[in-house]
């Protein structure tokens, strides 16, 4: 019997985060939501700040979504190793990731640096698991890890063949915008990535995120299926209900580019000034674009935020040993 053509595997997404905003946590939750629905596969989680608690929190979120698993191979569900930069310039403890761990003791296995992973290896290895052109990297944080990755000559071929697009949630393209945190934190790294990254780059600026915050009312209404939820705890600890939803917009665009949620700028080049201000200059053949909000899509996008971020964990299939 002949078999039909195999359906392509879901898009693989690697997420590199500075974890300085609750929106980053919601973006992570959305990625687990996409993963559970098999709309995308979360390949890797890396933290570009150098804070062990931030990595521990990311692992705790991973375990929360993995849930308990039994079966022939027994034990806990396999969670992704969390990569942590050792040279990140965001290193302060922030309530959004320290409070949930303190208050609810979400289980995690990260107590010391060598419980975390080499973030460059994590992202590069994640790409190698994908068919050509089937991966996207979403980065919402300082670019230090990606700058290291792009500097590795041996990784160039992997990036080119596997990574379809690099989606950056950094910068601010509004007129007279102040320097955005992630862009100004490591200007040199961001410049290197923008200059040397070999695939198309799409940048989602804070002006898009400000227009598309996560709806605060959803936090109380849509996560109530769990008595304790790390995403809710992070949101409450940050207590900044109108903060920009930039990383969420970046994730939606990365996972569903065909859904026309956003408009794309013409090709050009993103430059970062020494103080971290970002500027887009159109140029034919440029490798960069930035997202442009389509006000008509705002409601759809917000609905998608809520549907994905508040999705319940889907237990992974039980693997049986090979005969």
């Amino acid at each position: 019997m002949q078999q039909g053509p195999q359906s392509p595997p879901p898009l693989g997404i690697a997420f590199d985060t500075g974890l300085a905003h609750a929106a980053d946590v919601l973006a992570l939750a959305m990625l687990y939501g996409l993963n559970g629905r098999n709309d995308a596969r979360l390949l890797a989680v890396t933290v570009s700040g150098s804070n062990l608690q931030a990595a521990a929190f990311c692992e705790a979120v991973g375990r929360f979504y993995a849930g308990p698993v039994s079966g022939a191979f027994g034990g806990a569900a396999r969670t992704l190793p969390v990569g942590l930069a050792i040279d990140g310039k965001l290193s302060s403890d922030l309530p959004l990731f320290t409070a949930p761990l303190k208050e609810h003791s979400y289980p995690h296995n990260i107590e010391k640096m060598n419980d975390t992973a080499d973030p460059v290896a994590v992202i590069r290895n994640a790409l190698t698991t994908q068919p050509d052109g089937n991966a996207v990297i979403v980065a919402s944080g300082p670019m230090n890890t990606l700058a290291h990755l792009v500097a590795l000559k041996a990784s160039h071929e992997t990036i080119v063949s596997k990574c379809k697009t690099l989606v950056l949630a950094i910068g601010d393209f509004a007129p007279d915008a102040e320097p955005e945190l992630y862009a100004r934190t490591d200007v040199a790294a961001a410049r290197r990535v923008l200059a040397d990254w070999p695939t198309p780059i799409v940048v989602c600026g804070a002006e898009v995120g400000r227009a598309l915050p996560y709806p605060a009312a959803s936090i109380a209404a849509d996560f109530a299926w769990s008595t304790a939820h790390p995403v809710v705890d992070a949101w409450n600890a940050e207590n900044s209900p109108n903060s920009p939803g930039t990383p969420l917009a970046a994730v939606i665009f990365a996972a569903k580019p065909a859904e026309t949620y956003f408009k794309l700028s013409e090709p050009g080049r993103v430059d970062i000034a020494a103080d971290g201000r970002t500027k887009f200059t159109p140029s034919p053949g440029g490798n960069h674009r930035h997202l442009i909000l389509d006000p008509a899509q705002k409601e759809r996008i917000t609905e998608e935020y809520v549907k994905l971020a508040s999705a319940k964990p889907v237990p992974p299939p039980i693997r049986r040993p090979r005969p």
């Binding site: 191979f73 990569g83 190698t128």
Partner: protein, 449 residues
């Protein structure tokens, strides 16, 4: 030829068809400069297949080594001389869309750091790190590198789910398409080290063995002449060294004699002893001599090959090694694999002890060596490629103050490429590469200070 009173490091004892290099003697290093003479650093890789029972390999602690887990127990007397490394990973050994074949992949990736091409025909991996070093420094020694093994070195055919036997049966790769098959026969290795390089057929070798005189007999004139000019310390060193050669030679002859009595048509090289431990000891003893005489500074040793079904009747284990490793959690099978793992370590530890007992300069041969013992799989049951069992014996002391701080367990961060360790070792060999395989940097924290 021996000339003058200060002996050249490259002095050979010559005789008919024989050329015996010498170990470092005091008279090769003028007294005033003895402390400033650098010892060469040696690098070797010893590979065992089918993973390890990791719960009996990994200690529960980090830092200074104290009590070692069961498999590593044989190394306890030398624990101050080893670095036990955790969390090193070979991503190239993983499936990465290529399906089954972890045994073929993990060995092909082990020293090359690449993801080998799944094929039985047009093989492709990468140049291995030992060969990068051999290419750079190999001209300083008689042999750029030595490749040794104990088991079947078939180079063609399918050895694992579509992976060529070239991947499972070789560690060293001269180029991405050219593996360097290991020498299995102790006699062949002996003749390579001390002979004139001519290849002999098994029959010719048997004939020669019946009439054989020791290779040392052929160089006796040179030996006597050399001895007259040596001080007591050097004379003792020379005697110990030549005795070790003679012992190996005697054991090879004995193995040949035994084999001839057992079965003249046996399916393995004529000089390979039936006893696994004896075979292991012969090959490692010759590596010791090769390092001691600076015949080479680079060696690989494929103990047995990935997927091997070799049984260990000497341990009362008639089952094949590979089938046992797919134990599915059954205690009885795990116990057998643990015994095999410990047995391999026992042989390795005996070699390391010999290197430690072999004096060189102000230290030992082990001090000036980096001997990696490891496997391309950690859990052989599940075929995992992270936290690979890895240790380095020896400090890699180059005599210029560069030395590993041994006696510790260092757990790297997860997913740290094994190639990071190779880069660090290559540095110690004086070979500086920007990247190797899938490296992301050097492996930090090994050195003193």
């Amino acid at each position: 030829m021996i000339t003058g009173k200060t002996l050249s490091r490259r002095t050979l004892l010559r005789g008919m068809g024989a050329a015996v290099a010498l170990p470092v003697l005091d008279c090769m290093t003028p007294a005033l400069h003895a402390s400033t003479v650098s010892a060469p650093v040696r690098m070797a890789f010893v590979y065992v297949p089918n993973g390890i029972i990791m719960r009996d390999w990994n200690p529960s602690y980090e830092g200074a080594l104290s009590t070692l887990p069961r498999i590593l127990k044989p190394l306890e007397p030398m624990r101050d001389d080893i670095l036990l490394l955790g969390n090193l990973t070979h991503n190239g050994g993983r499936a990465l869309l290529d399906g089954a074949g972890d045994h073929g992949r993990c060995c092909g990736a082990y020293l090359t750091g690449v993801h080998p091409k799944k094929t039985t025909v047009d093989i492709k991996a990468g140049i291995s790190c030992d060969q990068i070093v051999a290419n750079q420094i190999g001209q300083q020694t008689k042999f750029p590198s030595l490749e040794l093994g104990l088991e079947d070195a078939r180079q063609a055919g399918d050895c694992d789910s579509g992976y060529s036997c070239a991947y499972t049966n070789n560690l060293a790769w001269k180029s991405e398409t050219q593996p360097l098959p290991p020498v299995l026969d102790p006699r062949a290795l002996f003749e390579r080290l001390f002979g004139d390089g001519a290849e002999l057929t098994p029959e010719a070798r048997a004939l020669q063995a019946r009439n054989r005189r020791s290779i040392l007999d052929f160089v006796s004139s040179d030996t006597k002449r050399l001895e007259t000019g040596l001080g007591p310390s050097d004379r003792r060193k020379l005697d110990e060294y030549l005795t070790s050669i003679r012992e190996v030679e005697t054991r090879i002859s004995r193995a040949e004699k035994d084999n001839a009595q057992i079965d003249p048509h046996m399916d393995k090289p004529y000089g390979v002893p039936a006893d696994f431990a004896e075979h292991f000891a012969m090959m490692t003893d010759m590596m010791t001599i090769a390092f001691q005489a600076d015949l080479t500074r680079v060696a690989t040793f494929l103990v047995t090959h990935e997927g091997t079904s070799r049984s260990y009747r000497e341990l009362e284990i008639p089952d094949g090694h590979h089938p046992l490793t797919h134990h599915r959690g059954q205690a009885e099978l795990i116990e057998k694999v643990t015994k095999i793992n410990a047995y391999h370590l026992q042989q390795f530890a005996a070699w390391i002890q010999k290197l430690k007992n072999t004096r060189e300069g102000t230290g030992s041969l082990l001090d000036h060596s980096m001997i990696v013992y490891g496997a391309g799989l950690s859990d052989g049951n599940r075929h995992t490629h992270e936290d690979l069992p890895t240790l380095i014996a020896g400090r890699g002391d180059d005599g210029r103050g560069n030395s590993f701080k041994t006696g510790r367990r260092i757990v790297a961060r997860k997913e740290t490429p094994m190639c990071n360790m190779f880069l660090t070792m290559m540095d110690r060999m004086g070979v500086h590469a920007e990247e190797f395989g899938d490296s992301t940097g050097r492996l930090e924290g090994l050195d003193l200070g």
